[in-house]
């Protein structure tokens, strides 16, 4: 089944990869623990929607945290997401990233999360197992080399999927980990979104800047790129 026009990629690829973030002394977790096990001293959300929680979590200085969200499509992209999504409040103390992710997905049960290599993906529960869903489509092969940013990564993808809308939007400090570096090599993908994103993240990780901000391959996350000052 083909998705409706507005449900094509550009609208629903709000696939954000958040990296981390604003300098904060308070609540700085141990760097020795895996990201999922690191603790956040205070996690407060008031009248928030899920994406607010992802932003708040990504703003904590958690070494190695790659956090992405694929938002549920709105009927009309111009609709205000705050009127389209459930609101909730959370006040958590000394919880692990894993516990916070569980709490977020409990608060908006339309979402679930999982790890995929180095990244943590939050995505619509209803898309799991839906082969027609664009991000679940498989690619036999895509070759990407020396990709400096999402724009050039998406060009070959758009050629492979000429009937789909491939795009990204975003605002912020657009700096990519290492422009010109052979970031992506030949890739066999069973899962279009996660594999591409994960490979991108791995490339950035190799440059040692994974804790420096946010990036996304398919849909550049909005906002300035948050960075720590180290």
């Amino acid at each position: 089944m083909k998705p409706p026009p507005l449900a094509t990629i550009f609208a629903f690829l709000s696939l954000l990869a958040f990296w981390q973030s604003m300098p904060r002394e308070q609540g700085k977790p141990s760097l020795a623990a895996p990201p999922l096990n690191q603790r956040v001293e205070h996690f407060d959300l008031n009248d928030a929607i899920l994406r607010d929680g992802v932003v708040e979590l990504s703003s904590n200085p958690i070494e190695g945290l790659h956090l992405g969200i694929e938002e549920i499509l709105r009927e009309n992209i111009n609709d205000n997401p705050r009127t389209q999504n459930p609101h909730f409040s959370l006040h958590l103390e000394n919880k692990t990233v894993r516990e916070i992710l569980d709490a977020l997905c409990d608060s908006d049960a339309r979402y679930m999360w999982s790890t995929d290599g180095l990244s943590i993906s939050i995505y619509p529960r209803a898309t799991v197992g839906d082969a027609a869903y664009l991000l679940n489509q498989g690619l036999e092969r895509i070759n990407l080399t020396n990709v400096p940013d999402p724009d050039e990564a998406l060009t070959p993808l758009a050629k492979l999927l000429p009937d789909e809308q491939i795009g990204y939007t975003g605002f912020g400090d657009v700096q990519y980990a290492n422009p010109g570096r052979p970031l992506l090599s030949t890739l066999r993908s069973d899962s279009l979104s996660t594999d591409l994103l994960n490979t991108w993240v791995q490339g950035a990780h190799g440059f040692g800047r994974v804790a420096r901000g946010r990036e996304c391959l398919l849909f550049r996350g909005g906002g300035f790129r948050s960075r720590s000052n180290n």
């Binding site: 604003m22 909005g222 300035f224």
Partner: protein, 146 residues
Amino acid sequence: MAQRHPLWNSSLLWSQQMNVTARQFAFVINNNPSNACSLGYGTKSTYVYTVYTHPDGGAVLGTDGLSNTPVTESFNPSVSCGTDTGNTILNTSAQFQDGIAACSSTPLTCSQTVTQTLSVAGYAVRTNTLVFSSSGVAYTSNGPTQ
């Protein structure tokens, strides 16, 4: 009744006069980037901002020791054609950059007009009008310019 310090009027008193100039983040000047969207429809531009202060009107330099100063952005109304907002910092050249992109392989469907406000250390230094349309994002600076 005010108490005088024991050394008041003493020959041991000394003073030093220093001239200081307070500087306040006041405005920014940006480059004029080209459109780097290669997917066929839309725009992708990276604006680099240099920060200026009042009352001197001078640019903040990398040697001023202000790198890592927080820079924030806000939108009114909130952006429905993209996602959330965020923060950055002044880099070692005391500049910051902001990428604005709406780039797609087919015509864009989102339309919206928003006002973007950029602030350095809490001081609003620029508002821009961003118009989202089928051709991408049109960017217009509303100043201030001095």
